[in-house]
């Protein structure tokens, strides 16, 4: 009740200005005020920049085995930090720091790739179900139920088996497929709610064409939760891809610098050099945290109840 009057007052102030504020502009404004959102955005941005510039700023070739490091490499010793090698070497005598940097790129490709595929497929299914309803909806939703019931791990194993060998693409597809039903159901639910909302009814009553109603009113008003879910899915996709790699279902090429794979390979050397496990793990956690914070604050900013 309190903020009601306040909001009204704010609304009057807003009326005095010449142009209005759209919901999106309003959400951005609120995002900029939230410290959590800023932290999330900072972490995500850092990750994105790193991923893009990694090959150029990496001090050494991440795939090269350096004699300096190989010379000291023993079964019970992996060289630590030394001039030119910020974090020392890994179990094969490559520059650990450079591999970590380049790993950001790999994680980004997997995360974004999986999420994008999941998002597009999910939105097509959910959009169709939401726009048409009826039996289209029933059948598509039963289909997603089936997809949902298959564990991602099993799916990844099956896909890897079908493809005769694991690869990065296998991981991306396996993770993407598990996100499809999430996006589909989210969009379908939001669109169905929109379908029966007064403003869609009003547009129909106005004689607006069905296609226009769907694309102009139903879809834009249903996207909020989907966008939020996409940022959250990016975080889980990176973790899932890492865990699939860790289990050896990803690309079998050991030279590839990917955080999950690095984590997986490091387990044998955990006594020798725990940093090999520690840094990739921290990197994964920070990136996931960044996307999660961003997603959560986006959810809050898009929630009309929080507007003031």
């Amino acid at each position: 009740m309190t903020s009601l009057l306040k909001r009204k007052r704010a609304r009057v102030d807003a009326l005095a200005e010449s142009a209005g504020t759209s919901l999106a502009a309003d959400a951005v404004k609120r995002m900029l005020r939230s410290p959590v959102a800023l932290l999330g955005a900072f972490l995500v941005l850092l990750f994105l920049v790193l991923a893009i510039v990694a090959p150029f700023i990496a001090p050494k070739d991440p795939y090269q085995r350096y004699p300096e490091l190989l010379a000291e490499l023993r079964p019970d010793f992996i060289p630590g930090a030394q001039p030119g090698f910020l974090l020392g070497g890994d179990e094969l005598g490559r520059d650990f720091f450079s591999r970590l940097l380049v790993g950001a790129q790999q994680s980004l490709v997997v995360g974004v790739g999986a999420t994008l595929i999941g998002l597009v497929l999910g939105m097509i299914i959910g959009g169709l179900a939401g726009a048409f309803g009826g039996w289209v909806d029933s059948w598509l939703m039963r289909f997603t139920d089936i997809m949902l019931s298959i564990p991602s791990l099993l799916l990844a194993i099956s896909i890897a088996a079908l493809a005769s060998r694991g690869s990065q693409t296998t991981v991306i597809i396996a993770v993407a497929v598990t996100t499809v039903p999430i996006f589909a159901r989210l969009l379908r639910g939001a669109m169905l709610a929109q379908r029966h909302s007064d403003h869609v009814l009003a547009a129909t009553a106005l004689g607006v064409r069905r296609r226009t109603v769907v694309f102009r009113h139903m879809l834009p008003n249903s996207l909020g939760p989907v966008i939020v879910q996409a940022t959250l899915t990016l975080a889980t996709a990176i973790i899932e891809a890492a865990s699939l790699s860790f289990l050896g279902l990803g690309d079998p090429d050991p030279s590839r610098a990917e955080w999950g794979l690095m984590l997986g390979n490091s387990q044998r050397y955990i006594d020798v050099k725990p940093e090999l496990a520690f840094y990739p793990a921290v990197a994964i956690i920070i990136v996931a945290l960044g996307f999660t914070l961003l997603g959560e604050s986006l959810r809050e900013a898009l929630d009309p109840k929080n507007r003031r």
């Binding site: 009326l15 759209s22 139920d145 639910g189 007064d198 403003h199 106005l206 004689g207 009113h217």
Partner: protein, 380 residues
């Protein structure tokens, strides 16, 4: 404002029907089932309604929640599909129309909604909300003309032209309802169906909107169907009033007649229940308190729908034979077997034992949505 509206304004002989509804039925199937939906029953939201609305008049439709008044309004606009019956709009049966024909017809009949916030797309500016209708019907003739038209519309509903670039959330409730009305007016309709146009607004603002609707009617020669639960508002704004109970019309008369001499027992109870802001009247008047609740529209009582709560219920006919809406006094129709006897005082009211009504959670005003998944069916 335009040529399209003028015929209604100028040539409006009394009794010239713009809309007539004949035997309209709207039944919503109740679906249950795990994998395949099975229809287990129907919600009889609107169950056989006849009414006509003359050009230039305001017809008020009152009733309590669950009586099907909103569904009737939406069914008349084909926003929900009628199960049976006809809706003749200016001679054309809307029920038979398909796709593009229906869409083009929609220009002539518009709707104003109860909740001005939810009925305006929050992502559209006022300008695009208003232009949308124009565009849909090819009335969008050049930038200049459209701009002029939008400013006209806004001034007709009493909003400053600076509103065009703003968004719905930047307005107060009353102003939003004005935007909703402007949107309806944009396409130059003949008929406006207003579903609870003021009930979501603050009391001090309601009168502004009621007056606006009246002014617009005079200016543009509009025909209104005003749907509301507040009989005081309906009586104020309407020429004729229909009272609905559980999917059917039980009484229809001019506003004055209905108030002066309600014939149906339900109308009497309804009128007596409405509080009047005057202590003298309140202390003096006698209330007819109905016992029990509205029966479920999925399982309406046999015979007269009101007999389970009627203080005038008789031993015969009431529970077996559904009364027809018939003209008892000139221009005053009522659906009650004993209307004349009640009017003459030959039948007196008596105590009514309240009948238990089981809530089944089905509202006739709410279209039913299928479950999202199997798990949703299993764990409702």
């Amino acid at each position: 404002m335009t040529a399209a509206v003028e015929p209604a304004a100028t040539a409006a002989p009394v009794g010239d029907a713009l809309v007539s509804v004949e035997g309209l039925k709207i039944h919503f199937p109740i679906k249950r089932g795990l994998l395949v939906d099975r229809t287990v029953g129907h919600v009889y939201a609107v169950d056989g309604v006849d009414l006509r609305i003359n050009r230039g008049e305001t017809y008020g439709l009152v009733g309590e929640s669950g009586c099907g008044k909103s569904t009737l309004g939406r069914g008349m606009l084909r926003l929900v599909e009628p199960t049976d019956g006809r809706v003749l709009f200016d001679g054309t049966d809307l029920v038979g129309l398909k796709g593009e024909e229906l869409r083009r017809m929609r220009r002539r009949m518009q709707m104003v909604f109860q909740d001005p916030m939810s009925s305006l797309d929050p992502r559209q500016s006022v300008e695009s909300l208003l232009v949308e209708g124009l565009r849909a019907h090819g009335l969008d003739k050049g930038r200049e003309a459209t701009g002029k038209r939008l400013r006209e519309l806004l001034s007709a509903v009493g909003l400053p032209s600076t509103s065009l670039r703003k968004y719905p959330h930047e307005f107060s409730g009353g102003q939003r309802q004005r935007i909703g009305i402007a949107r309806a007016l944009a396409v130059e309709p003949d008929l406006i169906i207003a579903d609870e146009p003021v009930s979501a607004l603050d009391v001090s603002v309601q009168a502004q909107v009621v007056n606006l609707l009246e002014d617009l009617q005079d200016e543009f020669g509009l025909t209104y169907l005003v749907i509301a639960h507040d009989l005081a508002v309906v009586r104020h704004i309407s020429d004729r009033v229909g009272v609905m109970y559980l999917g059917g019309l039980v009484e229809e008369a001019t506003s004055d007649d209905l108030y002066a001499e309600p014939l149906h027992p339900y109308t009497r109870a309804l009128l007596s229940a409405i509080p009047v802001p005057d202590p003298e009247v309140e202390d003096r008047r006698e209330r007819i308190l109905l016992t029990g609740d509205l029966p479920s529209p999925a399982n309406p009582p046999k015979g007269c729908r009101f007999h389970t709560r009627c203080p005038w219920k008789q031993a015969t006919r009431c529970d077996t034979e559904r009364p027809e809406l018939r003209e008892v006094l000139p221009g005053h129709k009522v659906a009650c077997h004993w209307a004349e006897d009640i009017r003459a005082g030959r039948i007196r009211p008596h105590e009514v034992e309240a009948v238990l009504v089981e809530e089944d959670g089905v509202s006739p005003d709410m279209p039913l949505v299928g479950p999202a998944s199997v798990s949703e069916v299993l764990n409702p």
